[in-house]
Structures are given as structure tokens and as C-alpha cells.
């Protein structure tokens, strides 16, 4: 392919991404260094937005909360995703039906799924989960106003919503494990658990790394589902980083655009660090292809 053809074909896409992603991003970086309101030019204030963000205890709590949610959710997603993928991998006839059902929570709008999920816990709607807990002799749980149960609710919803993704990618990985490897392990007398731990998991290491990265990035950005799941997020300290940005820079006429943009820039830096191994991989691939 000639370079001219390449640019002709890719031009529209580059223009759209340049105009609608790169330009806004530059604006965000510019805003992060300014004291600014919507529709007015800002005044340069250096790094004071960054110091304001980093010294704001509310932001600190949002970061801590988001990181805790992310670590726990991703750990559960990996283990559960692996177990479910292993189970689904054994299915033959019923596989499409099971995959179809398991995909539902992934294809729904996050907000809608979270609304439906919250009703199971909501005492206004009969509080099904609390009745189940009471049946087993447990105490009444305040899912929406008590920070720890609320965090558990959010993690449960996150796992529910992202499990299909984790499970499917791991399933794709499992399909790629050569049958000969399993056979050899079986002949050598390895137990099922030994086979999984010593043969299969190391073989699909790349896939597991990929799932970990994507789920970390997606849980770090958690926003939609908190609207129904944690209506009191700020009061009880269960605010996510993105909810914090929303509430300082946009909600109810909030105009601290500089502060919100600084937080966005910090989040981007964090994501860039996490992406480094993948970026290196793509360049290595490009070198080989040349």
C-alpha cells in the first residue's frame, strides 16, 4: 500500500479523533493549569489545581475508595471469571444458552443494570436480600447509608456487571490451550487442581494479564452505577474519582473546571503508566511486521 492511499483511507478517522478527542484533551490539560468557568477564558494558575486536588481530603477519600473497590472487584473477577470459564468450557449443547444469559448483565446500560440491582437491596422494594439475610439469622443491613455495606453492594454490582467480559476473555484463552498439554499432565498423574495451577494458568498468563488491565481501567472509571447504588456517596465517603470530578466540575452549576481537569490529568497519567507494557508490545509487533 502506498503512503498516499494509507492517509486517504485513514484520514477521516484521524480527523474525527483529532478534532473530537485530541483537541478536547488538550483543552483539559490547559484547564488543569487554569482557574476557569465554562464559556469564559481562564487565568493561568500554574500547578495550584494539582496541589488543591492532592491536599483535598475529599479527593483523598475518593481515591482510596476507588482503589479499594478496584482491587477487590478485580481479584474477585479474575478468580470467578476463571472458574466460570472453566465450567462453561465443559458445556457442549447448552453453551449458547448459558453464554446468552451470562452476557445480559454486560450488554445492558450500566445505569439500568445498577437500578435493577439496587432494588434487590432496597427496603422500599421489599428488601429481598435483607429478608434472606434475616432468614439465616443475620442483622438488618443498611445497604445505602452504611459505608461498608454500601461498598460491598457496589463491588457486588461491579462483579455482576463485568463478569461476562472477564469470563469470555478467559474462555477464549482456555480454548487456546493445546489439548496435548492437558493430556500430558493427566498421564503424568497430575490432579485437576495441579493441572490448572501448573499448566493452564501459566499458559494463559497473557490473557489473564489482559483481563486484569482492562478490568482495572474500567473499575477505576466507575461512575454510572454509583448514581442508583450510592445516592449518598459524598456524605458517607463512598465517592469514586469520576463522581468527584463530576461533582466539582459539572453537577448543579459546579464550576471548578480547573480542579476537575487536574484530577482527569492525574488519572490519565496513572493509566499511561499501566498501559506501558502493552504499548511496548504493540511497537515490538510493528518492528517484526516491517
Amino acid at each position: 500500500m502506498k503512503p498516499r492511499e494509507f492517509w486517504l483511507l485513514i484520514g477521516p478517522s484521524v480527523l474525527v479523533m483529532g478534532g473530537l478527542l485530541v483537541l478536547p484533551l488538550i483543552r483539559t490539560i490547559q484547564w488543569s493549569l487554569q482557574n476557569v468557568h465554562y464559556g469564559t477564558p481562564g487565568t493561568f494558575v500554574g500547578l495550584s489545581n494539582f496541589t488543591a486536588a492532592l491536599t483535598d481530603p475529599r479527593f483523598g477519600r475518593a481515591v482510596l475508595f476507588t482503589v479499594i473497590i478496584t482491587v477487590i472487584s478485580v481479584a474477585i473477577l479474575l478468580v470467578l471469571g476463571y472458574l466460570v470459564a472453566t465450567g462453561v468450557n465443559m458445556l457442549t449443547v447448552s453453551r449458547p444458552v448459558v453464554l446468552g444469559i451470562l452476557l445480559i448483565s454486560y450488554v445492558l446500560p450500566q445505569l439500568v443494570g445498577a437500578v435493577a440491582f439496587s432494588w434487590l437491596f432496597d427496603d422500599n422494594f421489599g428488601g429481598v436480600v435483607n429478608h434472606v439475610i434475616a432468614f439465616f439469622g443475620g442483622p438488618k443491613v443498611l445497604w445505602f447509608t452504611d459505608p461498608v455495606p454500601n461498598a460491598i453492594l457496589i463491588i457486588a454490582n461491579t462483579v455482576w456487571q463485568m463478569l461476562p467480559f472477564a469470563m469470555l476473555i478467559i474462555l477464549a484463552g482456555l480454548q487456546g490451550v493445546p489439548a496435548e498439554l492437558r493430556e500430558a499432565a493427566r498421564i503424568d498423574g497430575a490432579s485437576a487442581i495441579q493441572t490448572h495451577w501448573n499448566i493452564i494458568i501459566p499458559t494463559i498468563r497473557g490473557v489473564l494479564g489482559f483481563v486484569t488491565l482492562i478490568t482495572i481501567m474500567d473499575v477505576l472509571r466507575i461512575f454510572d452505577s454509583l448514581i442508583p447504588l450510592s445516592p449518598q456517596a459524598q456524605a458517607i465517603g463512598n465517592e469514586s474519582i469520576m463522581l468527584y470530578v463530576y461533582s466539582v466540575a459539572f453537577a448543579n452549576g459546579a464550576q471548578q473546571l480547573g480542579l476537575g481537569s487536574a484530577v482527569n490529568v492525574l488519572t490519565i497519567l496513572l493509566i499511561l503508566v499501566m498501559l506501558t507494557p502493552f504499548i511496548r508490545g504493540i511497537f515490538k509487533e510493528a518492528k517484526v511486521a516491517r
Binding site: L21, Y38, G126, G206, L257, S261, E285
Partner: protein, 298 residues
Amino acid sequence: MLETVDLSTRALTTGERDAPAKRRRRTKRAPLWVGILLALLCVLVLAPFIWMALSVTKPTDVAFANPPVLWGYQPTLQAFVDLWETTYFADYLVNTLAVAVISTILALIIGIPAAYALSRFPSYVSAILLVLALIFRALPRFAVVLPMYDISRALGIYDTTFALALALVAINQPFTIWLLRNFFAEIPPDLDEAAMIDGCTRIGMLRRVMIPLMGPGILTAGIFVFLFAFQEYLTALVLTDTGSKTVPVFIATQLGQTLPMLQQAGAASMLLTVPVILIAFIAQKYLVAGLSDGAVKG
């Protein structure tokens, strides 16, 4: 890492049927307890919808009873009727569909040639563009959506369906081109050469040879872009007001209001859920292919 995911796709999408006979014999059938656990998991996955469907079809006083009333009441569709008659739900639904359709068509029109070019032009330029796409896929959405709000107000296109659709085309473009590029990469380049020796131009070849061959890949990308636009809450929240509000934004505004409004929010959720569940079942094969081949989730 990305390649590992690619390699296994075909086995996954075609399933057991096309697998070599040798491999099929070796696959152990699922033991009963695995089946039972998976069935239980399916019930757990569906539980929120079952409960919501019950809550929405109860009369208002029964729906909010605690402990819940499970039988002996007269089911009603009143919440759906109220939703239709007392809110602008129909408008929001039309807006949501319009945004999804427009952004899907635009995303494919500009994404297909771009993805093709990236799959056939191995160079540092392609690698850099793919890396940029990966980074943009991972960006916190507010970092681009807040400036878009400011810019769209300045341009006077704030709160229009087209502006929201265009924003979603851009936001989903990184996913679209990664996904399509991986599908294109599986078509041998010899094929384009042959068509071009027979007298096709590059564009003609793309239209006559590649697009028909890429049918399933394009369908997969289309389903994903459509779903992403349909699902989007945050972008719609920031870029719309009343004129082009979408259903997820409407549902969020109904929360925390009166009890009948809550039930209407539930009714709206059910109406949005049913078609999406149908899509999940019908397009299951394509969703699976896209998730494992796309390498970057949107």
C-alpha cells in the same frame, strides 16, 4: 499479549461443532455439579430483572410493601401506561435510537477504511496510531466530554442528537478500528493484490472484495457500537438537556422522586432491557467474537 487473545478466537466462535474430531473426543462432558452451579449462576444473573419485572407489574401500594408481597395481588401494567402518558418517554426512546443508529453508521463509514489501512500498512505510523487508539480507549471520559460540553455550547450545537452521536462516534472510534483491524488482519493480503491485478482500484477492491468478506466482522463492530451508544449515560448526561435527552438519563432523573415515578423508571428500564436481552441472545456469537478479538473493550 494481544495476539494470544486473537489466536483463540476462531475456536471460541465456531464452538465445538467445527473443532477437530480428535479434540471433541478428549473434551470431558460437564459433570452434573458444574451444570447445577452454572444454572444457579444464571438465576443469580437474572435475579435483578426478575425482581424489577415483578415490582413494576405490581400495583403501587403492593410494590413498595415490606415484607414483599409475592402473590395474591392483581398484576397491572399501569406503570407502563403512566410512563407513556405522563412523561416524554417516547421522545427519549426515539432520541436514544437515533443516537445509536447515527453513530453506528458514521462509526462504520469512517472506521472500515481506517482499520483496513492499519491492517495493510505495517509501519511505525500504524503502530503509533494504534497506540494512540489504545490510550484513547482507556481515557477517563470526563477528560474529553467536559471540553465537548464547552465547545458544543460555543458552537450552538449543545443538546442536539447529532452532536451526541458525533461525540460517541469519536469516543468509540478507537474500539471500532482496533476490532475491525483485527478482523481485517485475518484476511490474507494476497487477496487484495489479486483483485487489484484484475483491475480494481484500492477503493473499488475494498468495496467489492473486502466488505463482503468482512460481513461478520462489520456486523460485530456494528453491534458493539450500537450497544455502546445505547448504553451511554455519562456522555449523554453532559451533552444533552431536554431536547435530545436519552433513556438512561431520563431513568436517572426519575430516581429519588415519588414512588409512582420510581415505578415508571422501572418500567422504562424494562422497556430498554427487553430489546437488549434479545440482542444478547441473537447476536451472542458476534458479541463473543468481538470481545475476544477486539482486544480493547469499549
